[in-house]
Amino acid sequence: MITRSETKIKVKSFNKATLVIRMTLLVLVLVTLLGFFTFDYKGIHVFDGIVLTGQTFLTMFLEPHFSHFTFVELISKLFITIGLAILTTMLGAAISLFLALVAARNLASKTTSNIRGIIAVIRAVPTVLWVLIFAVAAGLGSVAAVIGMSFHSIGYLVKAYSESFEEMDDGVIEALKASGATWWQIVFQAVLPSSMTYLLSWTFLRFEINFTVAVAMGAAAGAGGIGYDMFMASVFYYDLREVGIITYFMLLFAILLEVFATRLKRKLRLNA
């Protein structure tokens, strides 16, 4: 016989963690509400602001035109930005490959796998900050951008690569070691062939990130390229329509990149 209890059955147990989460959410809601009541609106009405923003967007994207830059100029600037992304990705990938080999737990000795700690610190600092840090030595410009972006790419790719290496079957390494193969032979004959698809897809992902960062760096660090033109068009000339057309340029390339990435991944999966 089933005894009916009077109280409802609780599905979730109430503990300290849920209490903390609920209190945090409550405080956040209160702070947000308080914020809206105490903002200094400087005489702008929220509704008018939204309408004006909408109008700006419409001008930007429905009436794009060239005025200070020509089509050919923008294309060449786009290639500068792509070049920056490719260069930093390749530099980062080449260095990361070797660092990841000595950082992977299944390939490295205990001392060299300490690299992971250093790499984690590099990764924790955003790319823009690294560029600005190197700008102290190299001056604002493309050199600082290349070094800073490569630096953060290394931080990212070493982690991605070394984890790909760790995914591989330890038995294969054991088998080759047992036949008297050296470490480098094992790396080139077993580790790299086994993890190549992962390496390629991580590298490509980083390239996509580096492209967007390269756009931002053009403006923020004066690295040139299409990002710098956009900065000039918006802040210097205040030409919304030109900002619009530059955005379309970048959008076009981003879509091309995405299409290519999807195809590449499908192809890799077929071979996997």
Partner: protein, 262 residues
């Protein structure tokens, strides 16, 4: 006949204090087919890996072809390892490479680091690899990727990789534990052929008592890191098997059959 391999008072303790092997001694003659049987966790795999020092022994010594393996430097150890082939339960092939590339991996120990890295094998080595593959009935699979093969075929590639090393000794760690009975028989038959026709000494870890009884010249029974039986299959008794596995009569799925019956 001379002793190819001598294991003298080998013990292995792991860092956590557990003992995998204690005071194990035996010797193996050239050309012998020896099986090691025993329950899971008895130390069979550890014993096998102590021979080519994939695992370092805690005490005792392993003498292979009159060389004390336990005392060797890195370089000489590699030279010893290339004369000892190893076969694994999970085949341990590089799945994304072709059969022939996997087989040629057995030659890496003979090559310079650079030539090995780039996979530059000479014609003689390739010819040898193809010959061995044909001997194992894999002549039609040479350019297939390793992951397209069946379990039995993969294990034959594993054997080919070991044979291309031109080994004196073949260490087989549960070679048929992941295979169906048909493939198991094929693999065991090949191992037996290798032992009798090529004169290569075979040391194999097995879970299947009946297989060990059928194929081996000698059986070593291991329990809790100690050797408790070392002799010919003919003298193996049902009691002894229960002793090795620590089981009671009727608990085990095997049939001594024939001359061992009773």
């Amino acid at each position: 006949m001379k002793a190819l391999l001598e294991v003298r008072r080998v013990s292995k303790k792991y860092g956590n204090g557990s003992t995998a092997l204690s005071d194990v001694s035996f010797s193996i003659q050239e050309g012998e087919f020896v099986s090691i049987i025993g329950p899971s966790g008895a130390g069979k795999s550890t014993l096998l890996r102590c021979i080519n020092r994939m695992i370092e022994v805690s005490s005792g010594e392993v003498v292979f072809q009159n060389v004390n393996v336990t005392k060797l430097g890195k370089k000489q150890l590699k030279q010893v390892r290339r004369t000892i082939g190893m076969i694994f339960q999970h085949y341990n092939l590089v799945n994304r490479l072709s059969v022939i590339e996997n087989v040629l991996h057995g030659r890496l120990g003979y090559k310079s680091t650079l030539a090995g890295m780039l996979g530059l094998y000479n014609e003689e080595e390739k010819k040898k690899a193809v010959e061995i593959l044909a001997m194992l009935g894999l002549q039609d699979q040479i350019y297939k990727r390793a992951d397209q093969l069946s379990g039995g075929q993969k294990q034959r590639v594993g054997i080919a990789r070991a044979l291309v090393q031109e080994p004196k000794l073949l260490l087989c760690d549960e070679p048929i534990a992941s295979l169906d009975p048909n493939a198991s028989k094929t693999i065991m038959d090949y191992l037996k052929t290798i032992s009798t026709t090529l004169g290569i000494t075979v040391l194999v870890n097995l879970h299947q008592v009946d297989v060990a009884l059928k194929y081996s010249d000698r059986i070593i029974g291991v329990n809790k890191g100690r050797i408790i039986y070392d002799g010919v299959p003919r003298e193996m008794t049902s009691d002894m098997i229960h002793n090795i596995y620590g089981s009671e009569t009727g608990d085990l799925l095997f049939d001594l059959g024939g001359e061992n019956a009773g």
